[in-house]
Symmetry: C2
């Protein structure tokens, strides 16, 4: 459509830093298409990131994450903050996966120039969803969004990788989760900074709160002196506004956690972990691109697959062979690094 | 514990091929630890794989996958078949994530020498869960299991990668899934060979069946002449055996699908796709290992992270730098390949 733009990196980066939504959309498309240009753009944009508040909301489909995010957007907008939302959950109304009524409700925000919502879809990021999401969050930061909210399903390794992008991770549970809550307790609970029990007006909410409280108490003793995840019952969807519950408490808890991070300097650790993870994600993607380029047009990939299928070799031997072609034997990163990076 | 075994590759592979459970456990541990030896073992074992029936069961936590698998194990055992189970869902009783009663029920099978159950845990496979699961399935095949069942949550890219290991993919839904069912319909439905509506005795099951039937009908018209996923209502958990439903129908549907795959030769396509995916997974892992080895002990990784944190560089430039050190510029896979592979 907008084919006439020649994607001049500097020009587009400048537009993005000025908050231009079309430049953002274009850059995100380049990232989604794994365009080689995307790294070029990201390099230009990167120095202007890392200053936003990045919040993660994680929970299974139907737990009400999107409704909660809807309230958060409204509250941050009332404070005059610009908000970006990255939806990774394919069932999210932000992703167009939910019922029509929901989608219309969320589209209201898309008329607001201070809100930028982007869905990561559910497909087409083979091996790269976490990296792409990370890049999109950085772009939203560079656009000048004070708050960036990432919505994920919280299951699977990719999702766990994505959660690490957030400084403050909100785990959204519901009383009717059944066995799912066991999985959440086992794994994801460890990374939750705030635990929300949404749909707290449902049957079973009180016993669920008690059980969660006990789990949190168990966690505290292990890491003394550090942040204790608050447990917040909420009702994010209600026919009448006065039936909503816990929204202000959630906003307060997020602010408290951010304050804790900055006062305790734990924020440095969080940002360092994010960089470490980011480095790994970019790295894996770039290596893959490099080698795909080398294989492209040689027809070798199909030949390898056929040879394995016929039982003439195995994937482990093929990979060994390919790596020999591409990797320098016994490579070590030199002790001196190019002056540009001044490490 | 069993430290005295020197992990002689040939010896261990031979033991495994004879069905030795301790050899299997040892090899799986090596895979979990990303030991360099694991590729060596896999090469020896690989030629003896690809003959088993590999079934995937996918669905959210609490949908009753494990109960269904429990019935499948029993039925295949009655037919004298050896069965392997790889549980990737951390909430699965096979993974120790469920309630005590469940766990005891499933441990009954672990007394049976014809059943080998292995859980992939929920952690420790950063970037490699799909590859590890694939390797463990191959090991279960090499052990001589006629049937290998893989249990996954079916959310996230990793999970979708894992599902591709299976020849026959069973999608397990329940009437009480709420919004989750939308996500399932949107994405995972495409890869389901058989659709099970478990807990079919719950309220809302009938309207759920109608809605699923309609979705399936939509799918059929698109891919004419090919397999039509049957929709099977089941009750996998009941106080009385006579209240169980649909188990025999599920076993029959799996057999029908396997027969279809072999008669239509679609099995070749399925196996080819599996190999292609496997190649990608092994490849990514091995490249990472190679470069980690090169970085190890140089302290460079921490220096890179600090330089990015301090704003002196960015992940994209660092990765470029590292790749220059490790990759041969402009590499192309040569047209001739070593004679061993005889492509």
């Amino acid at each position: 459509m907008a084919k006439k733009t020649p994607d001049n990196p500097d020009e587009m980066a400048q537009k993005l830093l000025a908050g231009d939504r079309r430049a953002a959309a274009r850059m995100i498309t380049l990232i989604e298409n794994q365009s080689e240009k995307s790294s070029q753009f990201m390099k230009l944009v990167y120095p202007n990131t890392g200053k936003s508040m990045v919040i993660g909301l994680t929970g299974s489909g139907g737990s009400g994450k999107s409704s909660l995010i809807n309230h958060l957007i409204r509250q941050y907008r009332d404070q005059g903050k610009r908000v970006g939302v990255v939806a990774v959950d394919p069932s999210s109304p932000f992703s167009g996966g939910a019922l029509l009524g929901d989608r219309i409700r969320f589209q209201a925000h898309s008329m607001d120039d201070g809100v930028y919502i982007r869905s990561m879809g559910s497909r087409g990021y083979l091996g790269g969803l976490a990296r792409s999401t990370n890049d999109v969050v950085r772009i939203m930061e560079a656009m000048g969004n004070d708050v960036v909210i990432v919505e994920t399903l919280g299951a699977g390794q990719d999702e766990v990788d994505i959660i690490h992008v957030a400084q403050t991770c909100v785990l959204v549970l519901t009383p009717n989760m059944g066995d799912d809550i066991q999985a959440m307790k086992a794994g994801i609970m460890e990374i939750a900074d705030i635990i929300v029990l949404n749909k707290a007006d449902l049957d079973g909410a009180i016993s669920c709160l008690h059980s969660l409280e006990a789990t949190i108490q168990l966690g505290i003793s292990r890491k003394e002196g550090s942040w204790t995840p608050p447990l917040i019952p909420t009702v994010a969807s209600a026919a009448k506004i006065e039936d909503l519950q816990g929204i202000n408490e959630l906003v307060k808890a997020i602010n408290d956690h951010q304050e804790y991070l900055h006062q305790s300097h734990a924020i440095d650790e969080v940002q360092t972990k994010r960089i470490e993870q980011e480095l790994g994600l970019v790295f894996k993607d770039e290596v893959q691109k490099f080698i795909f380029k080398g294989l492209k047009g040689t027809g070798k990939k199909q030949q390898y697959i056929k040879a394995i299928f016929d039982g003439r070799t195995d994937p482990y031997s093929v990979v060994e062979e390919v790596l020999k072609t591409f990797l320098k034997e016994g490579s070590k990163v030199k002790e001196t690094i190019s002056s540009k990076q001044q490490i």
